[in-house]
């Protein structure tokens, strides 16, 4: 239990928060990485998945991308992406551990890796969301003379939004967790505090870092849940009902690493 006291001391010591490499700077760095990666993944994944869902094609891809993503350890993939240019194809262009502005050491490679990890939940959920819009709704919209775009914009999108949002929420939690692991490999972010503590046998420090990471994860999840509820119209399929969702929802079958 002495380690808990050490952790408490580390958390309450102002000098562990401030300054270069202090926890505040690392926290900002990791939040920035998370937001950046999530942004990239949404920009790439959402249009693709929504479009495929609208066309009703590519379901195989949308489902399997998640299954494959689950089997590959994030740790290993991060290691491959971040430590070096895996096969030398890019010459010296591959960023490796180079520093990228505010994203810190290994910034570019970490950003790419995190965006890749955010894609499966975003794509799978957005695709499923559009596919699950009842056929009658779609046909009624078409019968009213709406064009393909109008059907999507005015019928499918509003109905799909809650599930799309839950995919983004899941991706957010996942990216935050993966960003922490990135510190095991490359350097940026709060995971550094954990790995430093553990690899240098200052367990108090490691545990202090873990407490901060876990707390921020919970805060992010609550914020995302709040946003999700805000975009869900009352009575919509994804709206929170007293008994909660009565099924193993498709948005919950990936584990945050």
């Amino acid at each position: 239990m002495r380690v808990l006291q050490d952790a408490w001391r580390y958390l309450t010591d102002a000098s562990s928060w401030t300054g270069d490499g202090g926890m505040l700077a690392l926290l900002a760095e990791q939040l920035l990485l998370t937001a950046g990666a999530l942004g990239i993944a949404m920009l790439v994944g959402l249009p693709l998945a929504l479009w495929l869902g609208h066309l009703g094609r590519g379901g195989f891809l949308a489902i399997n991308i998640t299954n494959v993503g689950r089997a590959v350890p994030t740790f290993a993939l991060l290691a491959l992406l971040v430590t070096a240019d895996p096969w030398g194809w890019t010459g010296d262009l591959f960023p490796g551990t180079a520093t990228l502005g505010p994203f810190g050491r290994g910034g570019a490679a970490t950003l790419v890796a995190l965006a890749l990890f955010a894609l499966p939940p975003i794509i799978t959920n957005a695709y499923t969301a559009v596919r699950e819009v009842p056929t009658e709704v779609r046909e009624a919209a078409r019968g009213m003379g709406m064009s393909g775009w109008q059907v999507f914009r005015r019928a499918e999108w509003p109905l799909a939004l809650p599930l799309v949002a839950s995919g983004v929420r899941l991706a957010l939690v996942q990216v935050w967790a993966t960003a922490t692991i990135a510190a095991l490999v490359a350097g940026p972010g709060l995971g550094r505090v954990i790995t430093d503590g553990f690899f240098r046998t200052q367990y108090g420090k490691g545990i202090a870092g873990a407490i901060v990471v876990a707390a921020v994860a919970l805060v992010l999840e609550l914020l995302a849940a709040w946003v999700q509820r805000a975009v869900t119209p009352p009575g919509a399929p994804g709206a929170a009902s007293p008994g909660r969702s009565r099924r193993v929802s498709p948005d919950r079958n990936t584990v945050a690493p």
Binding site: M1, A71, P73, I181, R200, A214, V248
Partner: protein, 267 residues
């Protein structure tokens, strides 16, 4: 150019103690090889190939140990998770008011990154395999409770009625009727839980019980490419093998679903 890159990646980590010996050991081996006039191994520091059979041959005991540890940690975690999920799911089904609490708490746990969960368990269980197993079981739990609940709910009410009409009590109904019918959904959950547990076990390398993750960590720290790649590939192979095994188990356990393949599998 590669050498400078190497030096640059290694320098900041040289302090972390754990790797010092390993790197030294590998360089030593390589120098010995050069002295004897033999070809350098494909995993030697200068060649450092990603795929290298010599590595697998020369380090076989180490690789087998790591794989076994990985497998044992995964199996123990999933079984422990299942053992806890079972009563929880029954409780949640029996008392609907508990359901949202149980699901809420397990989902909250799920939100905590594994790399933060292990350190939080260390004060209680130390730097041991127990820490990793408990942590991973907590993650598996979330998936399994949901799968069990979902599976039990999928049992048609008239089947239940019929069994009751035949004089089945609650216990016998559960064991002989409901659970067998819940198997497809449960196995779908087990597959998800198992595959992600295999991947997550690697993070246990933080407390030195990560199975293949230990090799990955050492590979990263020592820029030992063959070690890193071999361990990563073995992780995926292990996950796929366990997944296939579960599918086979399900087929054997539910002969009646064979006509309509894939019905129970979730996305």
């Amino acid at each position: 150019m590669h050498v400078t890159l190497l030096a640059a990646t290694l320098a900041p980590r040289a302090t972390s103690g754990l790797l010092g010996e390993r790197v030294g050991e590998r360089v030593g081996e390589q120098l010995a090889g050069v002295d004897a006039g033999a070809d350098p191994r494909c995993y030697s520091r200068l060649v450092n190939e990603w795929f290298c059979w010599d590595y697998v041959r020369d380090y076989r005991p180490e690789i087998i140990d790591a794989t076994l540890q990985h497998l044992l940690i995964t199996l123990a975690s999933v079984l422990l998770g299942l053992a806890i999920a079972f009563p929880l799911a029954l409780l949640a089904r029996r008392y609907p008011r508990l359901e949202s609490t149980i699901l809420g708490v397990s989902t909250g746990l799920y939100t905590v990154p594994s790399i933060a969960l292990f350190p939080l368990l260390v004060p209680f269980t130390g730097l041991s395999a127990t820490t990793v197993v408990i942590g991973l079981a907590l993650y598996a739990l979330t998936i399994l409770v949901r799968a069990l609940l979902e599976g039990l709910r999928a049992v048609p009410e008239d089947v239940r009625e019929a069994a009751r009409g035949l004089g089945y009590g609650a216990g016998r109904l559960l064991l002989r009727v409901e659970l067998p019918l819940a198997v497809p959904v449960l196995v779908a959950g087990l597959r998800v839980a198992t595959v992600s547990t295999v991947a997550l076990t690697t993070v246990g390398s933080l407390v030195s019980y990560g199975g293949l993750g230990n090799l990955i960590r050492d590979g990263v720290q020592g820029n030992f490419r063959a070690e890193l790649m071999t361990a990563a590939v073995l992780c995926v192979v292990l996950a796929v093998l366990l997944d296939v095994l579960l599918v086979l188990v399900q087929r054997a356990a539910t002969p009646w679903t064979r006509g309509r393949q894939g019905q129970g599998a979730t996305a």
